[in-house]
């Protein structure tokens, strides 16, 4: 377990304390600040009501945090390979599974920091809605499931695809394939097809769960959403395991 902690520490330092990590955190903060100011000052948006604005800002905060953390995660192994640091890591007595597990955990953790940075804005926005404020961090907690899923996809793609650019492209392709049905469902009239399309998108389902929390409702009766998220996370876990086996088999060699 200690080797995992060592990798975790190094990954956290490079995710959060390097110029690249700080830049990504700054993008989150600046975007949230701009959106918060715009939402509170534009009369057209205020027509949505405070609860509507909270939901919109929440969705943007989660999407942005997941996108930035996924971007960083897709560099995690491919970047080490590009910089020729991967071989030294693989020489250490740590299994591929533990190495990738630690990198995944670190990427999801860095993503959690992005979400945490959005929390004050969302609390301010939720303060006028009469909503119990614990629902905001709880909603972000649910968003962590999506964060864990997509950072896992990025870590696996980063390992299997070899180079940074192909890692980025393959992560984007996976995200597009998974989320496109959800977007398509939003454009369709209500019906069986629309419901089915929305069901298979993990992002849509996590937003449904979090949206229910923010609307003051419970999480019961959302079995399909939980199932979609569970299947998504299980598939990502298997993909990371496969990538770890691939990494050990290739001994760090690029494809």
């Amino acid at each position: 377990m200690s080797t995992v902690r060592v990798i975790l520490g190094k990954e956290w330092a490079s995710s959060l304390l390097t110029p690249r990590g700080l830049l990504l955190l700054a993008i989150q903060v600046v975007t949230m600040s701009v959106l918060a100011i715009v939402s509170l000052s534009l009369p057209d948006l205020s027509l949505m009501g405070q609860a509507g604005l909270l939901k919109l800002l929440f969705q943007v905060a989660v999407a942005l945090a997941v996108a930035l953390a996924t971007l960083a995660a897709s560099l995690t192994v491919a970047g080490e390979r590009d910089q020729a640091t991967l071989e030294s890591l693989l020489l250490a007595p740590i299994s591929g599974t533990r190495l990738l597990g630690a990198k995944w955990l670190a990427a999801a953790g860095a993503g959690a920091v992005h979400l945490l940075l959005s929390l004050p804005y969302l609390i301010v926005m939720g303060a006028g809605t009469g909503l119990a404020l614990w629902r905001v961090p709880a909603g972000l907690g649910l968003a962590l499931l999506l964060m864990a899923g997509y950072t896992g996809v990025a870590v696996a793609a980063s390992t299997i695809s070899g180079r940074t650019f192909s890692a980025l492209v393959s992560t984007l392709v996976v995200a597009a394939v998974l989320e496109a049905p959800g977007f398509a469902a939003g454009a369709l009239p209500k019906g069986a097809l629309q419901k089915w399309l929305a069901t298979i998108s993990p992002g849509d389902q996590v937003m449904t769960l979090a949206g229910n929390l923010l609307a003051g409702k419970g999480l019961s009766g959302l079995g399909t959403s939980w199932l979609t998220v569970a299947i998504f996370l299980a598939a990502v876990y298997l993909a990371v395991r496969y990538a770890a086996a691939h990494l050990e088999l290739m001994g760090g060699d690029a494809q």
């Binding site: 060592v6 330092a13 080490e80 640091t85 030294s88 890591l89 020489l91 007595p93 088999l249």
Partner: protein, 311 residues
């Protein structure tokens, strides 16, 4: 310390290493030579646990080649192209790898200090590695390679890209870790002078197969196209006649100096000198020449047909 038999690595239809057998005793510096694509790096990656052999058995540092996790604890590898975390200082870099190898904290502190001293980087211990020259990075890489006190270290082109002074310093450090830290060294290098100076024994590889191995001097004798000698004489015409009578080929005439081919006959030079003295030829000097490792290497690299043509 390294004892492997029949080690083979095949990638689909490409045979990278074929039926390799090696025995390197403890404390030796072993040179591993071959042109690009010969299979040296693949061999090193198999012997260090990075790659699993397709076939073959053996132990490195007392650990089976197939027990890759355990193997990584007893070996150190400095890859040919090694990257560094530019934002870390040497203290952080070595600390990171030391913890990864589970070196106890108290021991790690003293180990890092003495390693930085060995590789001459104590003065830069708190500077980011990103500001280091190539030579400094190579030295840090060597320190990283032995941070966990491995029994065997594999150095893949450690002097690549270094200036002559850097190469000399690297050679001194390799000798130092071999003698002071009692580490067996497996050295792959294209710098044949470096290998000849450092290594107790060498192996020469081509297209995945070891073509020759042994002590550099023995290889020079056996595979260096025979020994030669420079002889400075008073009467070069008379000396040439004597050489002809003795059946010794003259390779070159330069002023009063004859360069003659002696072949594999160790007695040829004293016999020739005795005949020259008997013939009344004054001898001012006689210097036997053995083939350099470079000549041996180039000779071994030729195919048998090419060798026949050269002969």
């Amino acid at each position: 310390m390294i004892d492997v038999t029949g080690v083979t690595k095949r990638y689909k239809s490409y045979l990278a290493v074929s039926d390799l057998s090696l025995n390197v005793p403890q404390g030796e510096i072993f040179g591993f030579l071959g042109p690009n694509g010969a299979g040296k790096t693949t061999t090193i990656r198999m012997l260090s646990g990075l790659l699993l052999p397709t076939a073959g058995e053996g132990v490195v540092g007392g650990v089976s080649l197939h027990d890759r996790q355990q193997l990584k604890r007893v070996i150190g590898l400095m890859p040919e192209s090694q990257g560094y975390y530019g934002y870390m200082t040497p203290l952080e870099y070595l600390g990171f790898f030391g913890r990864l190898y589970e070196v106890p904290a108290a021991k790690l502190r003293t180990r890092i200090g003495s390693l930085l001293e060995t590789v001459g980087l104590t003065y830069a211990a708190r500077r980011p590695v990103g500001q280091f020259s190539r030579g400094m990075r190579q030295r840090l890489g060597l320190a990283r390679t032995i941070i966990h006190e491995p029994r065997v270290v594999f150095l893949d082109e450690p002097s690549l890209g270094l200036d002559p002074q850097g190469q000399r310093e690297m050679q001194q450090m390799i000798r130092q870790i071999n003698t002071e830290w009692q580490v067996t060294v497996f050295l792959s290098s294209h710098l044949l002078g470096e290998v000849a100076q450092l290594c107790h024994r060498v192996a020469i590889m081509r297209q995945g197969e070891v073509l020759a191995s042994g002590q550099p001097e023995a290889l020079s004798r056996e595979l260096g196209q025979g020994a030669r000698a420079h002889i400075d004489v008073g009467d070069i015409a008379k000396a040439a006649v004597v050489c002809g009578e003795e059946g010794i080929a003259i390779l070159e005439r330069d002023g009063q100096r004859l360069t003659v081919a002696l072949g594999a006959d160790h007695e040829a030079l004293p016999r020739l000198l005795a005949r020259l003295v008997a013939a009344g030829v004054a001898i001012y000097g006689a210097v036997p020449q053995t083939a350099t490792l470079e000549e041996v290497f180039l000779n071994v690299m030729q195919s048998p047909a090419e060798r026949a043509v050269s002969a």
